[in-house]
Subunit: 377 residues, 2 copies
């Protein structure tokens, strides 16, 4: 898969760049007609879900597939996961009706911290409530209800998308035939640590102003650093080594250079140029409070919260489940995914586990789509 | 090994706490009588080395051992590595004369960014030059010369301490009988990435003020975040999982709590409380510019810089070398250390490799000193 490059700085970047991007059949908003009672105890009013569909719903309304996106994704799955639609791959635009719904808390159209709080007339900002994965699934179910979709042939997603896919199978067992859960398990202590670091990077930025930053002065340095901390957990040491090694930044900076301008900082290594570039790009497309909101959604997902009995929680699942671990995933280690699948299988659920061998780390499900497709065939 | 604990927040902390700390025989400063010409091309005048010694130099002056410290260490090796002095361990206070010299760039007594630049009469601050590992070795050699020490029975260190130990064997082959290099190899791309993130955490702090921060207003948030980013690379995911898992912070914070005060942030997990605690503690004992200075020293160490011939660089070594990799080390993976040792052995040097099995990650050489000692026996 070809990756966009910046001539001066390393920029393996936009997912799906170089591959035909698919346009949705329809992209629009769905507004819930009732308030959404959240798991945290708060209520969200006037909830909007931004979504996109690909292909056509058949007369029997039984060809729907729900694709769930990850942290910084959008409803436009045809842009960030195009190869799952390739001929013979996971989805067929001839036969399937693919739906992708933007996460609550995001900045890509669904209700999030940037939305106006009807109670105050101002954007929620830092007062945006904790949205759980389950809350997302319950809101999404209303959209499917409105479409008359009683059955999902498949629900799938990677990372936070996989959290949603599994939560769908738990929460609405009658509706889900199959679920594909990629590169995910409840976040472990190291994952929680990484999210904690990213959160601090944002709130340490003086422009964050307690979450009430000015629209023209967002906490860019903080969001950039947060993204960069994220990036090291999405990729693998092996990939970084192969791509960047100990080379100086490709724009000619020399890490060994010593002059009045560089002082304690000095020229950057190539890996640093790459990370800075990723941080800057992320500022062009994402919002700091939305990032914080979804980090919390991610942090708090734990179907076995409080030591719940796996048989009780997972035993209700009727869908066939497939789990995919990624060999070099550091954020959600393959072994955690395998053990998680095993726990669910032990609860009497049909659940297989496959491992994707890749040096791309967690990101492999986006960076090596063709390999993922082969594994799933 | 007992670790100090904070009742409210997780605080496995000071190395060696619970073990008898040794007082040095002497602790003091050595001022170089000549300028130090640095590898970067700059010159450092009035260079001070702060050092500590343990035991007594014998009449033949052939019982000296040089212990080299890591990033945030000090000359007081008896405080941070006491168990290597235990009866039958690596060093004997009865027979050995142990010397430990604070790194240039540090804030523990040797010349660093907080020292006064004789050329301006003000502290160097961000103008402190890039100090290489070799520069440190050359300065340290002057101190040994002044003591009449022509022979080192052993040079040893972990992490940046290991960089110095190997550099000693390369730079001054006639003086070094044996070198023990623990948990280190030239930093790979992932390590350079982690240092880049830490650097940004500091310079993003508005109190950093381009490196000219006010003495009473240092960039505490930035240094705290830098330390926390460091911490995740010093420890292992397994250790974090075992110690903190997905539990809420031990002071009673609830990550699932949702009220006006927590908003997008919410209660912390235990691992977050632990990291915050480590960040705060670090501010009590370290300086931001010193941290930046030593990160550069660490980044730029590469004996094979520019594709130098290993036979030429390492072939001059006369010391017997021992390398130790740590099984769960993420910053300097055991495999990198093993390969590095292999490269050096291939250059005709006597070099063995041992692996320390520990779930403590990179920090194991400090956190599990008794195990390290056993491995070395």
């Amino acid at each position: 898969m070809t990756e966009a490059r910046n001539p001066a700085e390393a920029g393996p970047s936009s997912k799906g760049a170089g591959t035909t991007r698919l346009a949705p059949t329809y992209e629009g908003d769905f507004v819930l007609d009732e308030d959404l009672a959240l798991e945290c105890g708060s209520t969200l009013s006037g909830v909007t879900l931004h979504y996109a569909v690909y292909g056509r719903l058949n007369a029997a309304r039984d060809n729907a597939v729900l694709v769930c996106h990850a942290l910084s994704g959008s409803a436009l799955v045809g842009e960030w996961w195009p190869e799952i639609f390739a001929p013979g791959a996971v989805l067929s635009l001839e036969h399937d009706y693919a739906i992708c719904i933007n996460l609550l808390g995001s900045c890509y159209g669904s209700t999030g911290p940037g939305s106006v709080n009807p109670a105050t007339g101002s954007p929620y900002g830092p007062d945006f409530p904790l949205i759980s994965i389950r809350d997302n699934v319950r809101a999404q179910a209303r959209l499917l209800d409105s479409m008359g979709i009683r059955r999902l042939r498949l629900v799938l997603g990677g990372s936070i998308g996989g959290m949603q896919a599994l939560e769908w199978a738990i929460h609405d067992p009658a509706r889900v035939e199959r679920a594909l859960v990629i590169g995910v398990a409840p976040l472990g202590a190291m994952g929680l640590a990484l999210n904690h670091l990213q959160r601090q990077a944002i709130i340490n930025d003086p422009e964050w102003r307690g979450g009430r930053y000015l629209p023209h002065k967002p906490p860019q340095q903080g969001l950039s650093l947060a993204r960069q901390i994220g990036m090291i957990s999405y990729k693998s040491a092996g990939l970084f080594e192969e791509r960047y090694g100990r080379r100086g930044n490709r724009n000619g900076e020399d890490p060994l250079k010593m002059d009045a301008e560089c002082g304690l900082l000095g020229g950057r290594y190539d890996i640093a140029g790459y990370l800075d570039y990723q941080g800057r790009r992320f500022n062009d497309r994402f919002d700091a409070n939305a990032y914080l909101a979804i980090l919390r959604t991610m942090d708090t997902w734990d179907p076995l919260l409080g030591g719940a009995d796996p048989k009780e929680v997972f035993g209700r699942i009727k869908a066939r489940l497939s789990f995919v671990g990624i060999s070099t995933d550091w954020l959600f280690p393959a072994e955690s995914v395998r053990q998680f699948a095993e726990t669910i299988r032990s609860a009497g659920v049909q659940a297989d586990y496959r491992e994707m061998v890749s040096d791309h780390g967690h990101d492999a499900f986006l960076a090596e789509q063709a390999e993922l497709v082969r594994l799933l065939q």
